[in-house]
Amino acid sequence: MTRHWLGLPIATLACSLAIAGADASRTDWNAAYPEKTAVLGLHGDAGRGAEAFVICQGCHRVGALGRADGSYPRLAGQHASVLIKQLTDVRTGRRSNPKMLPFADHQVISIQEIADIAAYLQALPVPATQGQGAGNDLARGARLYRADCAVCHGAHGEGDADKFYPRVSGQHFKYLLRENQLIRDNKRRNANPEMIGAIKNYTDADIAAVADFMSRLPVEMVKQVP
């Protein structure tokens, strides 16, 4: 077998491009962009955040407890990093959320206020009053959670602040249900491709079971973020 002398470098280049491409698709969901980087670099002040959050509580409710009907998620106790990513993703069009978009607009909330709100929300208490599912398929939910979800979202649903993986414990069942469907169907747009891959073959019943299981993870098992 003869090979042209250029073959090896070209093959190498092609390979590295392919790898770079694959890497890009894996990291795009959490790509650094100037606004997000800027907010993540700011010091958030929880006291100021409480004031800035006033315009959010008409939907997310007092104490950021969200609504059991899933229309608005709980934000209390969520990692600041996750909140910053999601809010900046929404207002820069990376995450589809037409209801929230005007309220997250640049003329409404400054980047400092995003950092402040995130600091405030992260430290809020998470009472075990979240909406739960029917509770009739919890064995399946537990099996799926342990197999596919716990690796990132943690055994207790605590998430991972450094990796931008949200805390899921204490969240409303109906919100978890809807977002999992949107992520599986690739409609949320800013989801981690690893997660899309992990649940792409989930049936609606699988999603309902695992969302139900998540909504029942004991909130007290997640230590409050300092």
């Binding site: 008409g58 609504r67 005007p102 309220f103």
Partner: protein, 197 residues
């Protein structure tokens, strides 16, 4: 210990006060001769087309006066009147009305008010209307950032919400969004409810 610096400060303050007092008198005069015709000398207008100003936060009222002056808030009559007022008096006029005692409003249609209460406290999750309580508080008393709504004339609240909806009033991007998401029926209901707060 008192030094020359402190004395200088006292003198400066005194000078400011002296300068301010004729303006305060002017403001009183302006209230009597200009504002009271529509808003009432006690800040509780009787004509529902004109808002009650009594008890509204001074900062909020000042922002509105500036918005009328700049054209950000459009109301031909009011803009023309504001154009004749010295902007240096805005603060005193706003302070004057802010300190007055608000008179309660009156609910005329309690069934409509009940619908308004549901919207005021819960919003509309389908259309993405936030609960009004989020910003305006459950008692509608208002503060520097968000206006007092409690006891306001139905007709006035109704017109403001419709003006946000149409884009005629553009003093707050959030309220523009809220106005656009509210239905005509919801606007009527919530205006009825806040009149009774």
């Amino acid at each position: 210990m008192t030094g020359p610096r402190d004395l200088l400060g006292v003198l400066a303050c005194a000078a400011l006060l002296l300068q301010a007092s004729p303006s305060a008198a002017d403001a009183q005069e302006t209230v009597k001769t200009v504002c009271a015709a529509c808003h009432g000398a006690d800040g509780n207008s009787t004509d529902p087309r004109y808002p009650k100003l009594a008890g509204m936060d001074q900062e909020y009222l000042m922002r509105q006066l500036k918005a009328f002056a700049s054209g950000k808030r459009r109301e031909e009559t009011m803009s023309a009147i504001v154009a004749g007022i010295d902007p240096n008096d805005f603060s005193k006029l706003a302070g004057y009305y802010g300190k007055l005692k608000p008179a309660p409003g009156k609910v005329n249609d309690s069934r409509l008010a009940a619908k308004g209460k549901a919207l005021y406290e819960d919003g509309n999750t389908d259309s993405g209307v936030p609960a009004c309580t989020g910003c305006h508080q459950s008692d509608g008393q208002g503060n520097a950032r968000f206006p007092r709504l409690a006891g306001q004339h139905q007709a006035y609240t109704l017109k403001q919400l419709n003006d946000y909806k149409s884009g005629r009033r553009a003093t707050d991007p959030l309220m523009t969004t809220v106005g656009k998401r509210l239905t005509a029926d919801e606007i009527k209901a919530v205006a009825e409810y806040v009149a009774g707060l």
